[in-house]
């Protein structure tokens, strides 16, 4: 009887030490953001979930008649996106004077001409934005006719930056 009670006592001690392993899982998300600019490094700080293009003005000098007039803009990208970011143009308008006269104009990234609404990749991963993208200038080419009507010609393009 004593032996039986002793076994029970030992068993009770082991029971007290019994444990079970279970888990706490903590999840969080860092959202991607990007800032893209022409000519100089982006000036702001990233905001998660926000993809920004810093407004740019491209100013040609006087356009030369009957030849390509080319402007190259260095492109800077600051992003924490692991998959990189892309740029697309809402339209690819010709320069226009408001009086029905236009100058044929094309836009390209690193030599690849933009099609309105079609994105082109800027980076395939994160980028600190401190230096311009190598080999990916934004090129605007305006080609006036030999008898192009003089005047001020402009165009405005909506730019969309998105995560790849």
């Amino acid at each position: 009887m004593k032996k039986l009670l002793s076994i029970a006592a030992v068993a009770a001690l082991f029971a007290t030490a019994a444990v079970a392993d279970n888990t706490i899982t903590v999840n969080g998300e860092v959202l991607a953001g990007a800032q893209v600019s022409f000519g100089a490094a982006p000036t702001g700080t990233l905001t998660g979930g926000t993809f920004t293009f810093e407004d740019a003005t491209i100013g040609f000098d006087d356009l030369k008649l009957n030849q390509d007039n080319v402007d190259n803009q260095a492109v800077y990208v600051k992003t924490n996106s692991n998959s990189g970011v892309s740029i697309s143009l809402g339209s690819t308008p010709d320069l226009a004077d408001g009086n029905g006269h236009t100058v044929p104009t094309t836009y390209a990234l690193g030599g690849t001409t933009f099609v309105a609404g079609t994105a082109q990749s800027l980076t395939d991963g994160t980028n600190d934005g401190s230096t311009a993208l190598a080999d990916l200038p934004f090129t605007t080419t305006a080609t006036p006719a030999a008898d192009q009507v003089s005047g001020s010609y402009t165009a405005s393009i909506a730019v969309t930056i998105a995560q790849n």
Partner: protein, 173 residues
């Protein structure tokens, strides 16, 4: 002779105070969880922590999340109370300090800190902390487990899913 036999009878009767001894043990058990009162029945010798996934949401670039507080509920029949130990077994080889959220690449982290019952809990040392000093019916919160960011994230913290998994050990004191 008769007198002698009578004396023997008395002696024998006096020594026969035999007894039946019955003993038994009710083993301790506990169920511990966050957020809600414990309604499950205890199971003998079983000390359970109810798995939980805590989503702290979006982590702001260059900033901190608001602290996330989880009320603790403990149901136990342990007369000596219960303890809790929380151990980070997720990234033992990552080289990061314990308890930090780590992204899928295990190259980036978001530094975190934790507290139990108002005192900072070291995931590195994972001490055993008293949950209850005795029995508890699990009907009301006994304290809080709080998750906070240790520092502001970098302004260009790589995007992605960050997580950590802790093993929780509940035991009788």
């Amino acid at each position: 002779m008769k007198k002698f036999l009578f004396l023997i009878t008395i002696v024998i009767t006096g020594g026969w105070s035999n007894t039946i001894s019955i003993s038994a043990t009710v083993p301790p058990a506990a169920i511990v969880g966050f957020d809600n009162p414990i309604t499950e029945n205890l199971v003998d010798n079983t000390f359970t922590f109810k798995d939980i996934v805590i989503d702290i949401g979006s982590i702001p670039l260059g900033g901190k999340i608001s602290p996330v507080s989880k009320p603790i509920y403990a149901k136990t029949n342990s007369s000596t109370g219960t303890t809790i130990e929380i151990v980070d077994h997720t990234n033992p080889n990552s080289g990061f300090l314990s308890g930090h959220l780590v992204d899928d690449s295990e190259e980036n982290l978001v530094a975190m800190k934790y507290s139990l019952f108002g005192s900072e809990y070291s995931m590195k040392n994972h001490p055993t902390v008293t949950l209850t000093a005795g029995t508890s019916d699990g009907g009301s919160s006994i304290g809080n487990f709080v998750i906070e960011q240790k520092n502001n994230t970098s302004s260009d913290q790589p995007e992605g899913h960050y997580s950590v998994v802790f093993d929780v050990i509940i035991a009788a004191q």
